[in-house]
C-alpha cells in the first residue's frame, strides 16, 4: 500500500512538475504539443485531430493603401556539398619567419621587390594619367599600345581592351576604330579620338599635349654624370638658371663699371 502511494505520488509529482514548469509536456504523452499557426488558424500537430482555433477576423483593409510589399526572400547561406569550404594555401611551404620576395618567378631581394612596386619610399603612381585604347581588332590594339608605350614610357598608365570589356561599362565611348582616351587620374578626359586617320604619331603628339606637365626634355639620362649644382640645389644645367647667372653677371659688371672712379688725369 505504501509502495503504491509512493508510485502514485511520484506520477502526480512529475505531471505537476511539467505543468508548473510550463514546458513541453508532449514528451509525457509521446507527441509534441506545440501549437502550429498558419494564416488564420492554429492547429496541433500529428496524432491529434486538428482543432481550428478561432482567430479574430482581420480588420477590413483600407482601400487606399496598397498591399505591403513582399518581404525579400532571404537566400540561405551557401554550404559546400560536403560541408567543407575549400581553402588551398600550403602553409608548410611558405616562409614562416624569414622574409622572402619573388619577382616574375625569380627570388629577389627585398629592395628589388619593393622597387618593382614603387621603391622603398613607396612612390605613389595613383595620380598618373591613363591612356585607354578601345578596339575590337586585338592586333591593331596591341600595335597601338606598343607604339604609345614606346613613345610615352611609364609617364602614363596604359589600359586596353575590346569594346565589350567590363571596364568600359562606366561610360567610355567604344565605337572608334580605335578609340583612344587620355584621362587624368580622376577621370577627366583631356583628349579622345575615334580613329587613326593621322597615324599613331599624331596620337602620341595629342597625348603629349593632353598632359603638358610631361616634357621629354626633362627626362633624366642616367648614363650621363649628374649636372653640377650650387649650394641650395641650384642646377647649373638648366638653361634658365644659366641665363639668370649670365644676366646677373652682366648687370653686376655694368653697375661696378658705372660706379667705378674715373681714372685720374695724367
Amino acid at each position: 500500500m505504501r509502495r503504491l502511494s509512493l508510485v502514485l505520488l511520484t506520477a502526480v509529482a512529475l505531471v505537476g512538475l511539467a505543468v508548473v514548469a510550463n514546458v513541453d509536456a508532449g514528451w509525457l504523452f509521446g507527441r509534441p504539443s506545440r501549437v502550429v499557426c498558419t494564416g488564420d488558424s492554429c492547429s496541433l500537430p500529428a496524432r491529434q485531430t486538428p482543432v481550428a482555433v478561432q482567430v479574430p477576423a482581420p480588420a477590413p483593409a483600407m482601400p487606399a493603401i496598397a498591399a505591403p510589399p513582399k518581404a525579400p526572400t532571404v537566400k540561405p547561406p551557401y554550404l559546400p556539398p560536403n560541408g567543407v569550404f575549400p581553402t588551398g594555401v600550403i602553409a608548410d611551404k611558405l616562409s614562416a619567419a624569414d622574409e622572402k620576395y619573388h619577382q616574375n618567378g625569380q627570388e629577389v631581394s627585398k629592395a628589388v621587390a619593393y622597387h618593382a612596386i614603387g621603391g622603398q619610399g613607396l612612390i605613389d603612381d595613383a595620380n598618373k594619367p591613363y591612356v585607354c585604347i578601345v578596339d575590337p581588332d586585338a592586333k591593331r590594339r596591341q600595335d597601338v599600345v606598343a607604339t604609345l608605350k614606346r613613345e610615352l614610357g611609364d609617364k602614363v598608365k596604359f589600359w586596353d581592351g575590346p569594346p565589350d570589356d567590363w571596364s568600359y561599362a562606366t561610360g567610355h565611348k567604344t565605337d572608334g576604330r580605335p578609340t583612344i582616351y587620355a584621362q587624368l587620374a580622376d577621370g577627366v578626359v583631356k583628349h579622345r579620338q575615334d580613329d587613326l586617320a593621322d597615324g599613331v604619331d599624331a596620337a602620341v603628339g595629342a597625348v603629349r599635349k593632353a598632359f603638358p606637365e610631361y616634357a621629354p626634355a626633362k627626362d633624366p639620362d642616367l648614363r650621363k654624370p649628374p649636372a653640377p649644382t650650387l649650394p641650395g640645389g641650384f642646377d647649373l644645367s638648366n638653361f634658365r638658371n644659366q641665363l639668370a647667372i649670365a644676366l646677373a653677371a652682366i648687370v653686376g659688371g655694368l653697375v661696378a663699371f658705372l660706379r667705378g672712379k674715373p681714372p685720374a688725369p695724367a
Partner: protein, 250 residues
C-alpha cells in the same frame, strides 16, 4: 513518512528550479558547440589547424557591400559581381583559393595570360605556394606564347605595400588566416583571398568562399588576419600592371 517527505521535497525543488528555465534537462537535445573540446583526431577540415586561442584585441569587422561600414569609404577595387568566383578543389580535391584569387586580380588588371588560371587549374592538383605560382604562371605564358606578366610576391608582415597596391588600383591576393566576422567557425585556416580595399582606416577582402560579401575590417584586425595574429609572414601576390581607368568625365 520520511520517503514521502523526501519525494515532496524533491518535487518542490524541481519546480522551483525548473520553472524559470524549463526542465533541468533537455527534452530535445541539440548539439552544443563545445569550445573547450580538444582537437579531434580525425579532422573534418584537413586544412584547418588548431582552433585559435585568440586573445583578440578590439576587433572592428563587418560583412558588407561596396561602402565601408561607417559609410566613409568606397571600395577601391570594385570588381563586378559577375567576376566573383567561388572556390573549389583541383584534381586532387585540394583547394584552389590561390588561383581563384589570382584570377580575380587578373580580370581586374587585364592580365590576359592568367585570365583563366582558376579554370586551368581545375584539372590539376590543388594547393598553392609561391614557387608553384611562379611555375603555373610561367607554364601558362609558355603555352600561350606570351611573355610572363609582371608580378611580385611578398612574404613578410608589411601591410603598407598592400595599401599602396590598392591605392594604385592593383588587387593583391593575400593570405587569410581567420575570419574576423565569424566565417569558418572562427577557426584558423590556410586560405588566400583578394584584397579589394586598403587604407589607414579600412581594409576589405573578397573571400572566394563567400563571394557575395565583402568583409571589412580595421587595419589592426587585417594585420592579424594576414599574419595569423603576427605568428607568420603574410604572403601576397601582386600584378604590377595598373587596374582599370576611372569613369570618364569632362
Amino acid at each position: 513518512m520520511r520517503q514521502i517527505f523526501g519525494i515532496l521535497l524533491m518535487i518542490v525543488g524541481a519546480c522551483v528550479l525548473g520553472a524559470p528555465a524549463g526542465l533541468p534537462f533537455p527534452l530535445n537535445p541539440q548539439p552544443v558547440p563545445d569550445a573547450k573540446k580538444p582537437e579531434e583526431k580525425k579532422r573534418l577540415f584537413p586544412l584547418i589547424r588548431k582552433p585559435p586561442t585568440m586573445a583578440t584585441p578590439a576587433t572592428i569587422a563587418a560583412k558588407g557591400g561596396l561602402v565601408s561600414p561607417d559609410g566613409s569609404e568606397q571600395i577601391a577595387c570594385d570588381l563586378p559581381q559577375k567576376f566573383h568566383l567561388r572556390n573549389r578543389g583541383g584534381s586532387d580535391r585540394a583547394g584552389l583559393c590561390v588561383f581563384c584569387s589570382i584570377q580575380h586580380a587578373s580580370v581586374w588588371q587585364h592580365q590576359w595570360v592568367t585570365q583563366d588560371i582558376f579554370k586551368w587549374m581545375w584539372t590539376r592538383p590543388g594547393g598553392g605556394w609561391p614557387e608553384k605560382v611562379d611555375k603555373v604562371i610561367a607554364q601558362m605564358a609558355k603555352e600561350q606564347g606570351k611573355p610572363v606578366p609582371a608580378y611580385v610576391q611578398f612574404q613578410d608582415k608589411d601591410i603598407e605595400v598592400l595599401k599602396l597596391a590598392c591605392k594604385t588600383a592593383r588587387m593583391p591576393s593575400i593570405t587569410y588566416n581567420y575570419s574576423p566576422t565569424g566565417n569558418y567557425r572562427g577557426q584558423f585556416i590556410d586560405h588566400m583571398v583578394s584584397l579589394v580595399h586598403a587604407t589607414d582606416k579600412w581594409f576589405a577582402v573578397l573571400d572566394n568562399n563567400f563571394p557575395d560579401d565583402i568583409e571589412w575590417m580595421d587595419p589592426a584586425t587585417f594585420k592579424n588576419v594576414y599574419t595569423r595574429m603576427g605568428r607568420r609572414n603574410g604572403w601576397s601576390v601582386i600584378f604590377l600592371d595598373p587596374g582599370p581607368p576611372p569613369p570618364p568625365k569632362n
